[in-house]
């Protein structure tokens, strides 16, 4: 049971980390607190569901379709909904509060659309639902694949941010948005790309999650919450922190659900969040500001 929980925890944690990376991109770099973030995850899961069940597409292929589509859609969402808010925040508006409110509205909008199309039931499709043996633990192949995907995507993103020019620009904007223009960085453009990129990561997480979990039209809130908690745990704008925090959260959930009760996973998540807020509001890996 111990190793099982460990493996399942890592699988969950990997997807949470992936989801959180997108959110930290949107909040840390674009400064948009996106309360509809989990809806992007869920929409991707439903899109995959449709592609798999109607077109018989392989979920891996759908990852290649849904990801870029999410990028384009998020890019458009930023242009239509966020850009005007960013613009007016320069004239004294408060971007944080405005973006929270607008994305709160967006949450209901997207959820409403999903409910109309898919209803309120749990959905899933069967994919690689065969048991494999991993370190003496019997686990579904789709979970192994999900973990592998989350790891590959996560590490890929990490390398991108760490070693490419674009990654350097992202980090510059995340840490010093005021100074970035001094070194000829177009902050607005970077913010929009980061938002779109974050949306793409959310969608990828959604596709990966749909491979091994059931989902409903109203499940977005929980994903937003978890991603937010991971982001705060890792320190806002800290990509490596989000990765580690995501894994921690996944492990805690797996153990709580194995040893306590599956119904208490959200409560345990919350508890971690609370303890963290009281103990280190700057995040586990954030720099301490005295």
């Amino acid at each position: 049971m111990l190793t099982t929980s460990l493996v399942i925890g890592l699988v969950l944690g990997g997807t949470y980390a992936l989801a959180a990376l997108g959110l930290t991109m949107q909040y840390g770099v674009s400064r948009i607190m996106n309360l509809a973030y989990g809806e992007f995850v869920i929409v991707a899961a439903f899109a995959t569901f449709v592609l798999v069940s109607t077109l018989g597409l392989d979920p891996l292929l759908s990852l290649l379709l849904v990801g870029p589509a999410a990028f384009v859609i998020s890019y458009a969402v930023y242009s239509v909904l966020m850009a005007p808010l960013v613009k007016r925040s320069r004239k004294g508006g408060n971007l944080e509060i405005d973006s929270i409110l607008v994305t709160f509205g967006l949450l209901f909008l997207i959820q409403g659309i999903l409910l109309v199309i898919f209803g309120a039931d749990f959905q899933s499709y069967s994919y690689l639902n065969v048991a494999v043996d991993l370190f003496g633990v019997t686990i579904a192949a789709n979970q192994v694949l999900a973990f592998g995907l989350a790891t590959v995507l996560g590490i890929g993103l990490f390398l991108l941010i760490r070693f490419t020019r674009w990654g350097l620009i992202l980090r510059a904007v995340a840490h010093r948005p005021d100074n970035a223009p001094l070194v000829a960085i177009n902050v607005d453009r970077v913010a929009q790309l980061a938002f779109a990129f974050g949306g793409m990561l959310a969608a990828q997480a959604g596709v990966v999650i749909s491979m091994f979990q059931t989902f409903t039209a109203t499940a977005g809130v929980v994903f937003t919450m978890k991603a937010l908690i991971v982001v705060i745990m890792g320190g806002v704008g800290n990509f490596l922190g989000a990765l580690i925090a995501g894994l921690i959260l996944g492990l805690v959930e797996a153990f709580v659900s194995a040893y306590l009760d599956p119904g208490l996973t959200l409560a345990s998540t919350y508890l971690i969040f609370l303890v963290l807020l009281l103990w280190r509001p700057q995040g586990l890996f954030g720099k301490s500001v005295s």
């Binding site: 007016r88 004294g92 929270i100 409403g112 109309v116 919450m225 119904g263 409560a267």
Partner: protein, 303 residues
């Protein structure tokens, strides 16, 4: 001043006759309006001056309803209401102590997930401990009784709002909303003040849920913890202007009727329209919601 009081009392008295005039449907609307008026006013009480946008209204509202559902067969009604308020109070204090010392955005996030957390905890408890999901409420109340109780609560809420505005605590809250450094340096205990107001606001919300509960007859967590309640409360309060005493009610009446109409005519697309209207409102307030709020404050101050 006493003239205003007279007017206020007179208005409430007049409203008390509504059940004699309206049919069931009309009375249902009145109940909805009065409920949201209380919720929006209670929300504004705390979130207006402090700018801590709370998305947790339904967490308290739902808890109020649930307390009634659990206890309705065992205890006298007034006692149940008392326990409901107490539960809301304890819950708000616990949440407040944990989050109110932190930056506003953490509070928003926490409040955002609070309803979901409470819903899951209650579901877990009902399934694992009490073994029932879903409860019946048998209380001998008709719509008009509920309406009258809500009307009294509305009177109390507005009186509290009026009293706080004119009290030292009200000024303390305004100072906190403007500049926490100044607030603490003139001797305001910031955490205690926020906590007090959050607790008052949450207790009122809990009461609304508790009083409304008998309308449902059958209750389960997914019914009472409906996130649109939090959502509507925020829009109504924001649109009406949370800094004016009568602001929240100004937002409640048009929006409640609008959403009532939407849900009657487009029941399947209700959530979509709700989201759309909300986004529109944030965009229509030209310089951002806070700026809009502040304009009213400046206007008030200049008078």
């Amino acid at each position: 001043m006493s003239k205003k009081f007279g007017l206020f009392g007179g208005l409430l008295g007049l409203l008390a006759f509504a059940p004699l005039v309206f049919e069931d449907y009309g009375l249902g609307l009145m109940i909805g309006i009065v409920s949201y008026a209380i919720l929006a006013q209670a929300w504004s009480l705390f979130s207006g001056p402090t700018r801590y946008i709370s998305l947790a209204t339904v967490a308290f509202y739902g808890v109020g309803a649930y307390v009634v559902a659990v206890l309705n067969e065992d205890l006298a009604y007034p006692l149940i209401l008392l326990i409901a308020v107490g539960t809301g109070l304890v819950m708000s204090l616990a949440v407040g102590i944990a989050t109110l010392r932190l930056a506003g955005v953490y509070f928003v996030i926490f409040s955002f997930g609070l309803a979901e957390l409470v819903r899951q905890l209650i579901t877990w408890y009902e399934v694992n401990v009490s073994g029932t999901l879903g409860r019946y409420i048998f209380l001998p109340f008709e719509a008009r009784h509920i309406y009258w109780m809500l009307l009294v609560l509305a009177g109390v809420t507005f009186a509290i709002a009026w009293w706080i505005r004119n009290s030292r605590t009200g000024m303390a809250l305004r100072v906190i909303g403007e500049d926490e450094d100044v607030a603490s340096h003139v001797g305001i205990n910031i955490t205690r003040t926020k906590l007090l107001l959050f607790a008052i606001s949450a207790s009122l919300m809990t009461l609304v849920g508790a009083i409304q509960a008998p309308r449902w007859v059958y209750i389960e967590p997914s019914i009472v913890f409906n996130p649109t309640v939090s959502f509507l409360t925020v829009i109504m309060a924001l649109l009406g202007g949370p800094h004016r005493l009568l602001g929240p009610i100004c937002g409640v009446i048009p929006l409640f009727l609008l959403f009532e109409w939407l849900s009657a005519n487009f029941p399947n697309h209700y959530s979509i329209l709700l989201g759309g209207v909300f986004i529109l409102i944030v965009f229509l307030l030209p310089k951002g919601v806070l700026e809009f709020v502040d304009r009213f404050r400046l206007g008030g101050a200049a008078k």
